[in-house]
Amino acid sequence: MDGTLVGLVAFAAVIGLLALRVPIAFALAGVASVGTFVIFAFRTGAFAPERAFRPTSSLVFSNSFDLIHSYDLSMIPLFVALGHIAYKADITTAIYHAARVWLVKVPGGVAMASVLGCGGFSAITGSSIACASTMGRICSPEMLRLGYDKRLATASVAAGGTLGSLIPPSVLFIIYGIFTETSISKLFLAGVIPGLISLAGFLIVIFVWVKRDPAAAPAFTGVITAREKARAALDSWPAVALFVIIVGGIYGGIFTATEAAAVCVSAAVIIGFAQRKLTFRALWEALRETCIQTTSIFLIAAGAKIFVAFIALTGVAPDIVTAVTEAQLSAPLLLAAIAVIYLLLGMFLDPIGIMVLTLPLMVPLVETYGFDLIWFGVVVIKLLEIGLITPPVGLNVFVIAGVVGKEVPIDRIFSGILRFLSIDVLVLVLIMSFPVLSLLLPATM
């Protein structure tokens, strides 16, 4: 049984099932289970299904259970809860009102504020999914309420969320550092400038979008006095306080990035009750919504995790890398080939999964070409981040879809994403062409 063939059939099957409106989590888990069963059944050469049940069920169980049974990922339900609670306690509305009156002259000012917010949030969380879940809950509904184009209101935050792993701290850089034995602190520094360039790119997309189509971001029409501006700024103090608590706590050595989520939720609850804007009933409702939203994200992530384990069994990833190795490409062509591989895998698999599948073979290959591993790390992370917003499996897009519910269908979000993707490709080419952008800051160490 040719593993690579099974793998390719599985990719096609996932696309087919998704087109048939099968829930994403079920499509990934279902195809991976069947594929895993087939591979185990043929492992000894002859077809022996009776020997496939146990390993299949064991693989499916451990990969989904271990994903959920995680201390580090506890930050995701907590940050999602933060978004819901801050919304119910009017904390987010206040900051949006401030953004609106202060950025009244800027086209798409609130969308820009959202992306900037994503950039700021990236500095406190290491996970793109956490970034998109929190900011998505905070930003997208507010933009929709203000009459923003549905695509802009959702895609801007899905794209902004991808800053989460480029701007330190970053779980992906840590894993890359472990696999390549490169300095994690240097990797963190290397991500800063490319992260800021990506951020600027997203702002440009919004600017051009709204310039060409002013209706996409209705401008504030009333007259705003300086007094109102000051008032709006003062009213947004709880959001500022929360941000100060998180940043001060993490960098001041009071709590870890994972613990920050819990502390911040507790602080938001206290502020909400102290301002008499939060009730027990509203809090409970916020947490119910949190659970539903978190569950649907985790179910997809669990399906994706099972799929990664199945792909590991097929040997598709090493086959691809071996093919590239044997092609003996020139350095620029190799880089292009790597980009294509990561973008293709990124269509289906999650970033960590792609790294564990490819890095063991990819890193020795790029080393023979004399590539700087720190710079290559930034290239890889940027590619993986792009994968979070490409169809058909774009985790960040699903996160936003989970927030906005039936109001904005997934294909509308993806259609908005296209504009952000085009700038992402430009940024990627920039990062690849000018390693100095990544290596400037680490060199100061």
């Binding site: 994403i24 064991s58 506890s74 819990a262 296209l418």
Partner: protein
């Protein structure tokens, strides 16, 4: 009956989220003020995570909150779309079945062998596994009931998914 049970499980998940939030906050406060802590916080948080994520599965299913791609199916007639919903549930039933069987074996294994987590309290491994099995099984039942209901609705000529007017596609 099912709906009430779902609500109960959802509320238990809410309690789990509150629990892990309080546990972590408390351990931070204890460390910052009294230079002390709660033993095995990490183990307890991971076990609570299972409850927080898995118990709401049935409610999520009932709310039809599983994320789907409708881009292609939107071009099909309503009736066909209704059948696709049934098909999606069928795939879900098939996809969850191995998890239930595996979850059962794993739960049984940790109970029989008395497995526990390394730590100051040597907490047992079974609660998380049992919650996982329970949550997935209940989601499976919910999905099966929903699928049968959807089939009955189609047979009776009732719609399964909302017949919202087609939104004209804006240019990309």
């Amino acid at each position: 009956m099912l709906a009430r049970l779902e609500r109960l499980l959802l509320d238990l998940a809410v309690i789990a989220v509150i629990g892990l939030g309080l546990l972590i906050t408390l351990s931070v406060i204890l460390r910052a003020t009294l230079n002390s802590g709660i033993p095995d916080t990490v183990v307890m948080v991971t076990e609570l995570m299972v409850a927080a994520i898995v118990l709401p599965l049935a409610a999520t299913t009932a709310a039809r909150a599983h994320i789907v791609v409708e881009f292609v199916s939107n071009y099909l007639p309503w009736r066909a779309q209704d059948w696709l919903v049934v098909f999606g549930s069928a795939v879900g039933l098939a996809a969850l079945a191995p998890l239930i069987w595996a979850g059962w074996r794993e739960a049984l294994h940790v109970i029989e062998s008395g497995s526990f987590f390394f730590g100051q309290l040597s907490l047992p491994k079974w609660p998380g596994r049992v919650i996982f099995l329970f949550g997935i099984s209940f989601c499976w039942i919910r999905l099966a009931v929903m699928m049968l209901g959807d089939i009955a609705a189609i047979r009776a000529g009732r719609p399964v998914i909302e017949r919202a007017p087609h939104i004209p596609q804006e240019e990309i």
